[in-house]
Symmetry: C2
Subunit: 328 residues, 2 copies
């Protein structure tokens, strides 16, 4: 069935769409009450975040817009040290969107929410003119753990910078799908609960943590450097990049440093914890290719420097211009 | 300045847009931390909701998409008996959107958030291809008051049904603007904190409460009737409708019963509290034209009936079909 403007009217068609697709796949007692708000248990301190997802194509090797819409918001909550708990979910559907596609997306959202330990407790659907596109906003609530203080501004000289795996996979997978280039690159789209849990459980002193999305590691390192008034020094030869992604980037003139992932994070930990943190990451789900990629110094405060593979040092500038906006 | 795909890339242009517009107007200490999640005080029980806003035109008599995007979510929280506290806000911008327009929208959001007593604590911006459109999702968190149990399923025979003012104003204003019909009809778009506060403070026994949006009073009454297994009996001559809206509907063959507002609510209260509840509404902000419009009975369980102006009784069916989807 194709979505029509009537599905956004708030009447019988809207409620049919909700009960047959969203309430069906997202099934839980809070949503089943069908009230305007979901009422749930709270916590002393909560973390709130939101993200919209406009990726094309909707389905790609390694994931789809549904899985992405859960991972993106769950990972943002995790990065603040919170335990992700609840999501809200707003669909903006273009007229002509296919309800079979919507079912696959909702099913993928439900599976990923289950993996990430979150419930979808409120939703909304709107229909706009257009050509069958599907856009999803999710907002998330997490419970803040006590005694954890993570922030981009907390990096200190000597801290170690780690990434949880290979850079650029999601970006390269989406671009390949759009350009119809055949390869086996897959998006890394995943919820990072397990690795964050491992770091915290093992008492790693985490200073800053960000999931690597739009703008890539370069953008995050820049945010850390500016917020902390420190210098982030990366070592090019330590940056993990899948061989096929490397070749893909070489051909297209792309830099993995600026490319988005959807299941990777950068974490800055106290110097003393570097090796233990690396081991935690490597032993956790989705973290097998984690690497220590650099340090926090005071060489050029507010900047990101890169020790190149041939031994030079260059400045890593901020991303300017486009950088493939519709990847997430 | 026009929005380009680069504004959605996550790099320098994105952060410029955020700091110059969103962070500027929504200014608060949580947002100023510029982390992926906003960390705020929680509560034992919280209410969560979300709504997306796709209205055209963006500016209309009585409001704009910015004011709407705050009121819609705040009102959903209020209807569950919660105190609205925090909002997240996701912008999906079509390429070509004007940053001057975006500034006006953000300013309106900030003013309305201020009126409604909520802070915008997290945000996101994405850019899609298109023609300058602006879509906004807001998600909201409210603190649940203890001892309040409001739900569509709680209506009881004998209960009184009240509406907080004239029906169809928002819908008629949007339609007039789109059809370029000249009149003085204004959207009623408003946050309903004051009237809900008044009902609760005065100890009114509220059984069910919904803001009247897409689908109109008919849709809400239908939800109440089905969820409670009761009959909602409305009296046509008691329904408050602005004279100009009435004339507008007459000409276009529209029924105010199915038309959306954005600053009105329907509330079902215990029989004993009917008059006090009506007085609370009438004395509160935006409630001067409140009216008692019917009762809960068991005449035809699960249905909405209307005593017509000429003394007959008719069934009020669910909204089928379009009903102007892009009004909210």
């Amino acid at each position: 069935m194709k979505i029509t403007m009537a599905h956004g009217s708030g009447g019988k068609e809207t409620s049919g769409l909700i009960s047959e697709i969203f309430a069906h796949y997202f099934d839980n007692p809070v949503l089943a009450r069908m009230e305007d708000s979901g009422i749930v248990d709270g916590a002393e301190r909560i973390a709130l975040t939101t993200d919209s997802f406009v990726v094309t194509p909707l389905f790609f090797p390694g994931g789809d817009i549904g899985r992405l819409s859960i991972c993106g918001t769950v990972n943002d909550l995790l990065m603040s040290g919170a335990v992700p708990r609840y999501l809200t979910c707003g669909f903006i559907l273009e007229e002509g969107a296919d309800t079979e596609v919507l079912k696959r997306v909702a099913q993928s959202m439900a599976q990923t929410a289950n993996e990430a330990g979150v419930s979808i407790v409120a939703g909304d659907t709107k229909v706009i003119e257009g050509n069958g596109g599907i856009y999803i906003n999710t907002a998330g609530v997490g419970f803040v753990r006590s005694g954890i203080e993570i922030g981009a501004g907390n990096c200190r000289g000597g801290d170690a910078v780690l990434v949880s795996g290979e850079l650029g996979d999601h970006h390269a997978a989406i671009l390949s799908a759009r350009m119809q280039i055949e390869n086996t690159i897959r998006s890394d789209c995943a919820p990072l609960n397990d690795m964050v849990e491992a770091l915290i459980k093992n008492g790693i002193e985490i200073h800053a943590m960000r999931d690597i999305t739009r703008g890539g590691l370069a953008t995050i390192a820049g945010e850390f450097a500016r917020a902390s008034g420190c210098c982030i020094e990366l070592e090019e030869k330590r940056l993990p990049v899948n061989e096929q992604v490397k070749a893909f980037c070489g051909i297209l003139g792309l830099d993995p440093l600026y490319m988005g992932n959807e299941g990777k994070m950068a974490v800055v930990v106290a110097e003393k914890d570097e090796q233990r943190a690396l081991q935690c990451l490597k032993e956790s789900r989705y973290g097998e290719n984690a690497a220590a990629v650099g340090h926090v110094t005071h060489r050029e405060n507010g900047m990101v420097l890169m020790k190149t593979a041939i031994g030079g040092t260059r400045v890593v500038p901020e991303l300017m211009g486009e950088g493939l906006p519709r990847i997430c």
